[in-house]
């Protein structure tokens, strides 16, 4: 594993969370001629894909093109290394933002510790999560129940939960869809600072070009575009949505 002290790394904004030197080509994901199914229907056909450590990949394409199915599959390949920020946030409505974010770190503690923390937050996670929430700009409402928050605030809590998983890979399915451009950029740069590898499904192509180093365009379950961000033309992106 690349990470030595996950907490310190995850909360450090100025450096990337991995400090270990990387070999030139270490694939994080490698798929060859893969078909993917959802509820019995074939969504992705004959996919070959290689994503290396350090890449920031944007999946773009119309809704129904297979972005979510691909992301789900990537997560199932690396359940222990990938932070997961699904489209349907799956927040527990009556619990506070604090507890929802803490849920990202449940595996790091014993069941007993988690239970006590549910009754009364411990100082250490509380301080960690408060700092994280301040960065996400929900520090003021952290103790409110999630169902009393606005849609944008709820999405920040969901991102907070994914960040608190403290993994090196971040898989996000439209993680900032409920936020305006300015806020979305801020949050995405926070996410990129805390993970070395990113795969994001994004409907906003400008955002994808700004944040990611590589664009993968999907159309009807096939990869029709795969290029570094700098080499993608507006025409190519336009083509995807026709």
């Amino acid at each position: 594993m690349a990470k030595s002290s996950p907490l310190a790394d995850a909360l450090n904004l100025t450096e990337k969370s991995t400090s270990a030197p990387e070999p030139a080509a270490e694939p994080v994901f490698e798929l060859t001629n893969t078909d993917l199914f959802y509820e019995g229907r074939r969504i992705i056909q004959d996919l070959s894909l290689r994503i290396e450590r350090g890449e920031r990949v944007a999946l773009v394409g119309q809704s129904g093109s297979g972005k979510s199915t691909l992301l789900k599959h990537l997560r199932s390949l690396t359940p222990a290394q990938a932070a997961w920020c699904p489209q349907h946030s799956g927040l527990v409505p009556m619990l506070s933002g604090y507890h929802n974010i803490f849920m990202g770190g449940l595996e790091r503690h014993s069941g007993f510790y988690n239970l006590c923390n549910l009754l009364k937050p411990f100082a250490q996670p509380k301080a960690e999560i408060q700092r994280l929430a301040d960065q996400l700009e929900i520090g003021q409402v952290l103790l409110n129940s999630v169902d009393r928050l606005s849609g944008g605030q709820q999405q920040r809590v969901a991102i907070g939960r994914a960040l608190y998983q403290q993994r090196s890979i971040f898989l996000g399915d439209e993680p900032v869809s409920a936020l305006d451009d300015f806020q979305a950029d801020k949050l995405l740069s926070l996410v990129t600072h805390k993970h070395d590898t990113l795969v994001l499904a994004l409907h906003d192509t400008d955002q994808a070009l700004k944040v990611c180093t590589r664009i993968i365009g999907l159309k009807r379950g096939r990869v029709v575009l795969d290029a570094p961000s700098g080499q993608v033309s507006p025409q190519q992106l336009h083509e995807l949505y026709r």
Binding site: K72, R75, S76, P79, W84, P86, H88, S89, G90, V92, P93, M94, L95, S96, H99, M103, L106, E107, G111, N114, L115, C116, L118, K120, P121, F122, A123, Q124, K126, A127, Q130, G139, Q140, V141, L142, L143, N144, S145, D147, R148
Partner: protein, 508 residues
Amino acid sequence: MSVCGPIKRHQPVRSSAAGLRQVSLWLVLLSLLCLFAADLDIRSADPSLELSRIGLGLLSPNFWSISEISSSAFNTLAFALQGVALASIAGFLLALGYRFFWLRAFCAFIRSIHELFWALIFIQLFGLSPLTGLLAIAIPYAGTLAKIYGELFEETDPAPRQNLLTSKGLSAFFYTTLPLAWQPLTQYTSYRFECAIRSSIVLGFVGLPTLGFHLETALGEGHYEDAAALLYVLLALVVSIRWWLKKALLPIYLVAAIIYLPPSAHISWDNIARFFCEDIIPAPLRQTGELNVWQQINSLGVWFEYLWRQQIWPGLSSTIVLSQIALLLTALLTLVLFPLNSKLFFTPSKRSLGDGLLIIARTLPEYLLAFIGLLLIGPSMLPAIAALAIHNGAIIAHLLGRFSDGIILRDDAPHGINRYFFEVLPRVYRQFLAFLLYRWEVIMRETAILGMLGIGTLGFYIDSAFEEFRFDRAMLLILCAALLNMGADFTARTLRRRLHLKTTPETI
């Protein structure tokens, strides 16, 4: 671990859980307070011997007296069928006028008196006759069904009705409201039928010829093999309802039930007249002529004061104490057991096994469970509390487990204890409280009844009053029990509204 200091914030914390937490805390505190006042001693020297005999009996059930078993099983079914049929007709008619306060109050009153108390009253009027059993079930059930039907009618979507030229009148009702409410209405009625079988069994304990009658005899005399056979028949009867209770067959069942057990009785009008005009009049008011009005009122006061001190207050307080402890234990048991019937925690095969256990536990009437408990460890509140908690806990756990199936967890949701406390419990807690508050009134009603087994709740004093032919006292005590239940019903409903818990009827 220390807890960190106050964090900066400008707005007050807005929590959806705070109200639920507060009510839970009060319920727990109240129950713990009651725990100090309760008599939880175990009297019997060693229940293990009796327990092993019961275990042996369960392993070697004796079905030899098959005619006795089958006739009492048919009687049980006949009472339940006729009772629910009459109750659903009466309840339906009452529900049509459910917007009138006095009708609602009337329904609340008749359902606040337990089947067994109604039976004790009707035994004085009609003896141990089929009519007594029928009325004892039909009257309180009519009150319950009227409430549920009435609420279902109110909850229907008003749009179809508003589209009519005239939204009032019976035609509008039959074309819009009734079809909209029909499905939950029949579902609830068939659930009440299951309850009626339990009620019918319990009526055997006061002498009607149902399974309960033979169960009491067999258990009381220690013939556990016979008791086991009856118990298995009882379980089979209730568990198999879903297979044989079909809408198309209902009329046939009903006609058969009426032919098998015609609701008749030797009616002695003198007897009935004496009961109403003499027996239930408070004793001090019966000696007319000798005393003037003021003296009569005075002696009535003395009579009431004596009863309050000797029977009503002790009965009321121990009913409240016991039911409160039972409520807490029911709640705990529910929270432990509901994962048994949830796909979030068990694979389908293990889950159906778990739900089977819950169904068996809820099928046994609490009165029967308490009776067995008392046989084992002697008169104490403990078996009564355990019986109430097992029966009601299993019912709520079954429903809550089914409710939890509706939760969709995200792919990386935790497992085990973390899943229970972080993902599932917060999501089902509101519904859990709603179910629990629904059962509160039921638990209170049952607690009063368990007194008839020798624990000092209201039922004990009511039973004694009937045994001593002091019907005036019995009526006053039954009235007190009814008021207590109506109070619990009212409090629970107010709490449900305040907490924004679902107030529509559930199949519980």
